[in-house]
Symmetry: C2
Subunit: 386 residues, 2 copies
Amino acid sequence: MPSETQTPLRAGIIELAVGEPDPALLPRDLIRAAAGRALADPGDALLSYGSREGPARLREAVARRAATTEGLRQGAGDLLVSAGNSQALELTLATLTTPGDVVLVEDPTYHLALGIVRDHPVEVVAVPLGDEGIEPDALEAVLAGLRKAGRRARLLYTIPTFDNPTGVSLAGPRRRRLLELATAHDVVVVEDDVYRELAYDGAAPPSLRATDTSAPVVRLGSFSKSLAPGLRLGWIDARADLRERLAGAGVLESGGCVAQFAAGVVGRVLESGDYDAHVALLRRTYTARRDALVRALREHLPAGCRFAVPAGGYFVWVTLPDDLSASELLPRAEALGVSFAPGARFSRHGADDGLRLSFTLYGEAALAEGARRLAAAIGAAAAHAG
Amino acid sequence: MPSETQTPLRAGIIELAVGEPDPALLPRDLIRAAAGRALADPGDALLSYGSREGPARLREAVARRAATTEGLRQGAGDLLVSAGNSQALELTLATLTTPGDVVLVEDPTYHLALGIVRDHPVEVVAVPLGDEGIEPDALEAVLAGLRKAGRRARLLYTIPTFDNPTGVSLAGPRRRRLLELATAHDVVVVEDDVYRELAYDGAAPPSLRATDTSAPVVRLGSFSKSLAPGLRLGWIDARADLRERLAGAGVLESGGCVAQFAAGVVGRVLESGDYDAHVALLRRTYTARRDALVRALREHLPAGCRFAVPAGGYFVWVTLPDDLSASELLPRAEALGVSFAPGARFSRHGADDGLRLSFTLYGEAALAEGARRLAAAIGAAAAHAG
């Protein structure tokens, strides 16, 4: 039974709605040891005002890792430390948009990112997401329509790798096409890359940022999934002109890097080599959990349901038979002891024919039991509707 | 010789421009012990997603302290944890202003706060600061002028206690008048209260927030001065309706409290009782440093210079003889081995007849020597001008 999640867990319900890590997998000892080393070193500035960019130790370690895993030739100077992807997205919107701008989002998309976008005086336009990620033809049509109306999109927020909520990754050819469209229309692509380390079937696809370093991309990387969300720590890897605009924000000049303390600690974790071992543990554990959930869904889901096996990340997306609404299904499922996140939560248009299941919080047996309960709820709802 | 400051220190120059704490006074051991306790406790959620409001343990400790020191009857539910005052100011501006709003600032004021305000599509209007803090008559005139023009001010940013840059505190009667004006004109007072713990001549004046809890006040408290700036940790104490608007920001829903990790650590520091002892050490040390600087200024400054002795905080503000410009004086002073922050840096109007000296970074002997060098530079400049 997981404990100390952000979302309170209800007794008797397997909460597959909750997209949080298993608290038992949080690397308390690694972080405790790293904090001890950093604080014992009088030359470590983690308690002082820092630079806008954040501690060089951490940025160097992240750049080294990107060189190894993605072939990116970067140094510390190419990166900014962020206080996690939410703060980074907030900073990006605050810095790169002006009132009245159009911001494009995928539909469905990460619902809490929508909340951040909505805090800004911009117009949100949705672009459909398909089985292979964002639909380039639809994107091109939206961009052309805006241009015809004398407007243009300023930003596109996308999660191209192991998407939240759908688990899909943008196919390789679509990555190229997306970057060509963004370059042609001068749209900044905000690439939320938070799930990259959690790849279960070989390496993650190359990031948009690594695919074309001359394209207008702001990539948001994070330690929330690979270490611990409470660290509220990530980094921003953007084309130089965009990175400089972000680094110029007044909030970073005033206090320095918002995550100075956590960055000082995590810089030590990355240097130690413990990070690689921890990520390997997460991959093994979550691969087994994904497989357990997928097996049980295959076995139990009634006809008419569809899902794709995600190659990484936190989520499986199940599409329901045509006549079922996920939001209406939810109370029935909870009565049978399982929860999920209904599709309407992630859609600008209220599209509600899908649901999101998280496989990181529970062990394999609970996931399989959750899938059985879900299947029973769908079966009962379909019988009732039929 | 201080080390590991944010601003690089130049050899041979006593850098009284630098408003940073003495690194030797950063409580590394306290924080290391607290981090160890928090991370060893599997029930502590400092590594998990947290609530929007931040860890209750820290908020309870802050509320208890406000009860003791200010007689405020508060609980954890009255406070939000912030990632330091810069982030809190950014959040306040993003949440409580709309494009085109008027934001009032003092003149002079904390220059880096001006940078944060300028990132928002608001109009900045300055209100003069006098020897007893913001001038209420001038404030009333500005408010009346705006009203006459069919506009109104949305926010006033003020540092009423141990001001940066001037060191002055708003006099008691002016506090009441300011709150009456803010209430009458429905202007939110953003009270930057970062220096409260550093009181050298008895207790700090009651905060605006404590003076009238029904007034529209958002108080920003911080551990940057009382523990360590690199923690990037503070809290927001605002009237309930304002607090709820701030807590509703999308960035807090998405990731939870931005400073979850540091808040988990500092909650343990406050519970331990070590915090009181550390604040007492800071007060003793900085009182002696202030006194050393003030003694040397009294002894050496040439006629025509004025300064007031600050009752707390980081800074002494020196007003120059009429014909001298602080910015023009600066290279001469640096040639003599002392720096300061010239007045123009803090003024919307470029007012340059004053300069800011920080007395927290250096020991007493260096401060006295810095004052001698400054006096020599002023004397030489006055002779040159005369």
